[in-house]
């Protein structure tokens, strides 16, 4: 069972937080801070696991991956495989990359709903239901079809231009190195 999915940047700002059990916002903030304080103290090129039991309680493990300015973090228990979770992070990032063409932190900042939609297609109530990024893409597109009214569509277009304008300052995440 996956307990939580988090994305945060290297300054510790939360960019996505999903907990599969109810937690008060204060508790969420505490956990995210706890995770970040461990993450930022880790060197490059070390293993992607962290002892999460001190933060999340017994039977919890944590894997993370560091891409450009972002940390992707999955917290889960003993019924998941650590390496499989690492693969899942990879799938998640690949999907984001396909959705936003070279995804960067700003895409994640501005597409709050879409990111959640993508994640929800992958992980359902703490269980992995889809691991193919193309399937996820397909579903997300389907959903946005029944989602957009003409008015909203125009809004999104306007905003997309803005985003392109301001992306120059940010590091691009290149997945397929």
């Amino acid at each position: 069972m996956i307990k939580a999915v988090m994305v945060m940047n290297t300054q510790g700002k939360s960019r996505l937080a999903k907990f599969y059990e109810y937690l008060s916002v204060e508790k969420q903030q505490e956990l995210i801070r706890g995770v970040f304080s461990v993450l930022c103290s880790r060197a490059e090129n070390v293993s992607n696991f962290i002892d999460a039991e001190s933060i999340f309680g017994l039977d919890s493990r944590l894997v993370y991956k560091h891409f450009a300015t972002l940390y992707f973090v999955f917290v889960f228990d003993s019924s998941e495989n650590e390496l499989a979770m690492l693969d899942l992070i990879q799938v998640f990032v690949e999907t984001l990359d396909k959705c936003f063409q070279n995804v960067c932190e700003l895409d994640i900042v501005f597409n709050y709903s879409k990111i959640h939609t993508i994640l929800d297609e992958m992980v359902f109530g703490g269980q992995v239901v889809e691991t193919s990024s193309s399937e996820i893409m397909k579903a997300v597109e389907e959903i946005s079809k029944c989602f957009l009214s003409p008015f909203l569509l125009s809004c999104v277009k306007m905003h997309v231009d803005d985003v392109r304008f301001s992306t120059f300052a940010l590091f691009l995440i290149r997945i397929n190195r």
Binding site: V25, E82, L83, A84, G125, C146, C155
Partner: protein, 925 residues
């Protein structure tokens, strides 16, 4: 009304505007957010659903990423949920799954919305509501929506069906009775050929099997088939997880499964699956030699891999193996020890654990030596990790692996001097514990304590204060082993002790008290006793002592050699020192310190008066006073010389209740009074602060001053008590002389070339893994006092209680009852029999579940018709009662032997074929 609402929606900030505004930070983030929240509060009350939903979305954003509470919007979320538009619904569901929990008041109102969306034709709407259900379902929701979930379990849309399968987990957990309805359909999905559905179902079963594996044994044939056929790594991993749980329960199953697992291990290219196989084998199949060998081969590949993740997991797997096959660790010890100096903290810690697993009584000294050297070099975190694991390994089972306690005590001293050491508390406990338990080590202990106390630099390190308090206590309690009590006294009263916290300060003062009494005793009383204890002789002996004569007699009588002579003059100096050091403490704000200082100074005053006047001219008077002083000193010394032993926590229970004492009557109220006092955790000794134990004696000291006769009585009472309950006292009266020809703790040769090279450690462990007698074992291990029950390692008596008895109970009901129908004849070969069994099972399933559906449908429709509260409540009450009833029954059945459980079943359903005796089907044999 429509005017402002239109304006609102036209000029409303969208989420994007909000994010942009936040990023620009013109007025500061907090100010901007509170302004935005104000807007949202206004907008969310709008009647226009678009405005409302946008406000809700913004609120979600602020709640999710900026941690602002959004519980106030619970009802608004429900309103948005009722919108026909998908986009609104999606926002509402998102908000609900972010903020709803079991005690959200409007949770009751959501049932119908969910039901409507669960039956929607739009698969995405169904998915949204399932997702929501998987997050917020409570007992009521789970119960009321079970029929819908049941229907969706066989939906022809894969997208929906796999989510319905996943949601079942939460529904089962919240409302165990739903198992009776849904379980068979869930099992049917195991037969599905679509990998996505299969993955979801297997995932659910692996979660369920985690909680109570035994109930799922009858499904083993299905899982076996999946294991053999599966092409998806995800599914294989999950099935392996299930078998890791099932195999230990049923050896025949393990026999059958181990080969396919090894097959996968040989063939697969996926590291995740490979690792899962390895883990499964080393945890659940550790008695299969060939499988373990294969797994160990794979572990070795992991260990030498470049990828730190694989290396870490390899070490992790190794530590799982270590508990049963230690040879595997020693086979790989080069890698393990090299990893101690790895960059990666995970790898370091894991390899440390493995090194500690290799420790035995033959190599503990060498390994500790090298590890301490590692600790000196590494960062504070890892340093303490090392020290902590040395401490816990060495103290395991009452110092089981320690033979040479002198060595261990000096190691403790050495460890506390390591700059990053933060294990003060643990070292403190062990120093005192060893002092109490191991008589023979006390001289060395006092030496170590003295070295610690005498170093003024250590007082500045706050992490060491606990160690120092133990050292102070030890040196006070066992001062008779000290070579130079005067020096000890100076150490205890040095000016830098002002850096200590008051509680430890108090221990220092108390120890100083003990040392002082000891000095006085050796000087006056023992010296006096040379000429006989008779009062008449005391004057002469005083005189003798003041001239150097006394020294000889002290040495002759004190069993340890006190190198510095205790003369009358030095006593006078000592008293002066005490006065000088303690008088400032009379004004201490800490009562403990103040009181002890006062005690000691009072004692000093008393003695000084006597001692000084004893050298005066008036013979008769001084003689009398000298006698009094000796008497007092002897009394106090006697009070201190009673040995403190470890006290078993259950000792109190062993004392028989005297006749005529009706505890329950008199002390009945005590329980309520003491109810909130936390008991110390069991299985350890309650040292608390060593000073607590001293409290008694300090009180008795006061009494001594006032009335020596009374205290005499108390010591005699103590002696009497000891005679009566000798069982709870430590044996005493053994000679405390320790010969000095004790072999050195560590071979000097070894110490010499211990330049903490990894290679050296390898060599050392290699040497020491071969059991051979070391020279320092020539002396037998000293007696370690153990108290029978409490010292035993807490045995894990606690059975893994399955948290949801009711779920597994229901599962068993269903599975075992369906197995009953299986014809025995068709069990000869695997695929056939399982297929047949399946079909039959399904037939019954259908019948049963239909009944269930009808039943449930009835009840829910009934409920839907009458919305009056009273009825609803009554209904729920009834339901709850039923639930309790079934729950109770299931508990009963699951605790009973399955056969009895079946007989109950038989009684209830007389139509069924008589059950089989064996619970576990032999498909796999």
């Amino acid at each position: 009304m429509s005017g402002p609402s239109l304006m609102d929606s036209l000029f409303q900030r969208t989420l994007e505007d909000l994010i942009k505004g936040l990023r620009q930070q013109l007025i500061g983030e907090q100010a901007f957010i509170s302004k935005a929240l104000e807007e949202i509060r206004k907008e969310i009350k709008s009647t226009d659903l678009s405005t409302k939903s946008t406000a809700l979305l913004k609120l979600c954003y602020l709640s999710n990423l900026h941690f602002h509470d959004m519980s106030f919007a619970a009802f608004h979320a429900l309103e948005v949920l009722s919108s026909p538009r998908f986009s609104h619904k999606k926002i509402a569901y998102h908000a609900i799954s972010l903020s709803f929990h079991d005690s959200t008041p409007v949770l009751l109102l959501i049932t119908n919305h969910l039901r409507k969306d669960l039956t929607s034709t739009n698969e995405f709407e169904v998915s949204l509501s399932l997702q929501c259900l998987s997050r917020i379902a409570n007992v009521d929701l789970a119960r009321d929506l079970t029929p819908e979930v049941f229907t969706l379990l066989s939906s022809n849309k894969l997208y929906v069906r796999k989510r319905a399968v996943a949601v079942v987990l939460r529904v089962f957990e919240k409302y165990p009775d739903s198992v009776r309805v849904c379980f068979k359909r869930l099992v049917e999905n195991l037969e599905n050929y679509d990998p996505q559905i299969l993955s979801a179902v297997v995932g659910v079963f692996s979660e369920l099997a985690c909680k109570d594996p035994r109930s799922y044994l009858p499904l083993a044939p299905e899982f076996y088939k999946i294991l053999v056929d599966s092409k998806s790594n995800w599914i294989s991993i999950k099935v392996l997880k299930i078998f890791a749980k099932l195999a230990p329960l049923e050896p025949r199953l393990a026999n059958r499964v181990v080969e396919p697992i090894c097959d996968i291990m040989r063939k697969t290219g996926a590291k995740s699956l490979l690792f899962e196989c390895v883990r499964t084998v080393v945890t659940s199949f550790s008695e299969y030699e060939s499988a373990v060998r294969l797994a160990v081969g794979k572990i070795r590949e992991f260990l030498v891999d470049e990828d730190p993740n694989l290396k870490y997991l390899g070490l992790h797997a190794l530590s799982i193996v270590a508990s049963k096959h230690l040879w595997v660790v020693s086979e790989n010890k080069e890698v393990v020890i090299k990893s101690l100096s790895d960059l990666d903290p995970n790898i370091k810690i894991e390899s440390l654990r493995l090194v500690m697993a290799m420790v035995s009584e033959h190599n503990v000294a060498e390994i500790s030596k090298v590890l301490v050297n590692y600790a000196l070099k590494s960062d504070p975190l890892f340093c303490n990790e090392i020290l902590g694991s040395i401490l816990s390994t060495c103290s395991r089972n009452v110092y089981e692996i320690i033979v040479d306690f002198d060595w261990y005590v000096s190691l403790l001293g050495e460890m506390s001097r390591i700059p990053h050491c933060q294990m003060g508390e643990e070292i403190e406990n062990q120093l005192i514990d060893i002092g109490l338990r191991v008589k023979d080590v006390r001289p060395e202990l006092v030496r170590v304590a003295r070295d610690l106390l005498i170093d003024p630099a250590l007082l500045g390190n706050s992490f060491l204060h606990r160690v120092l308090s133990a050292a102070a206590w030890v040196s006070g309690e066992y001062v008779e082993f000290s070579r130079n009590p005067l020096e000890l006294m100076e150490a205890l009263l040095q000016p830098r002790t002002s850096l200590l916290p008051p509680s430890i300060m108090a221990i220092y003062i108390q120890s100083a008290f003990k040392v002082l009494v000891f000095c006085l005793h050796t000087c006056f009383v023992r010296g006096g006793s040379t000429a006989g204890v008779s009062a008449s002789a005391s004057y002469e002996s005083f005189d003798d002592l003041s001239v150097e004569n006394g020294v000889d007699s002290t040495v002759a009588h004190g069993q340890t050699c006190t190198s510095a002579p205790i003369t009358n003059e030095s006593i006078v100096n000592l008293l002066k020192l005490v006065e000088l050091a303690l008088s400032p403490l009379l004004g201490s704000h800490d009562v403990e310190v103040q009181e002890r200082a006062r005690n000691l100074l009072g004692f000093v005053d008393l003695i000084k008066l006597e001692a000084l006047s004893s050298s005066g001219q008036e013979e008769n008077d001084s003689e009398r006073k000298g006698v009094e002083a000796t008497k007092i000193i002897r009394l106090v010394h006697d009070a201190f010389s009673k040995e403190l032993g470890p006290v078993s926590l259950s000792a109190q229970g062993k004392v028989p209740v005297p006749d005529g004492l009706t505890l329950n009557e008199n002390l009945g109220d005590l329980e309520t009074i003491c109810g909130d006092i936390e008991l110390p955790s069991s299985n350890t000794f309650s040292f608390g602060y060593p000073c607590e134990e001293k409290d008694v004696s300090s009180i008795s000291n006061l009494q001594i001053k006032e009335d020596s006769g009374q205290s005499n009585e108390s010591t005699s009472l103590l002696a009497e008590h000891r005679k009566r309950h000798g069982l709870y006292y430590l044996p005493s009266g053994k000679s405390e002389v320790i010969s000095n020809d004790y072999p050195p703790a560590n071979d000097p040769a070894l110490q010499g070339d211990n330049n903490d090279n990894a290679g050296d450690l390898v060599k050392l462990t290699a040497e020491s893994l071969v059991p051979k007698r070391k020279p320092n074992h020539s002396k037998p291990r000293p007696v370690v006092v153990k108290l029978d029950e409490t010292d035993e390692k807490p045995v894990a008596v606690k059975q893994p209680e399955s948290r949801d008895d009711s779920v597994s109970g229901a599962v068993r009901d269903i599975l075992f009852s369906s197995e009953d129908i299986l014809p025995t004849s068709s069990r000869s070969n695997l695929p056939n029999s399982s297929r047949k069994g399946k079909e039959k099972q399904h037939m019954i399933t259908q019948v049963e579940s239909k009944e269930n559906v009808v039943d449930d449908g009835n009840s829910s429709s009934r409920r839907r018709k009458d919305h009056s509260h009273g009825k609803e409540r009554r209904h729920r009450k009834k339901n709850a009662e039923e639930r309790n009833e079934t729950h109770r029954k299931e508990k009963e059945s699951s605790s009973n032997h399955p056969r009895r459980h079946k007989s109950r079943q038989r009684a209830e359903e007389p139509l069924k074929v008589p059950p089989q005796t064996s619970v576990i089907p032999d498909f796999l044999l």
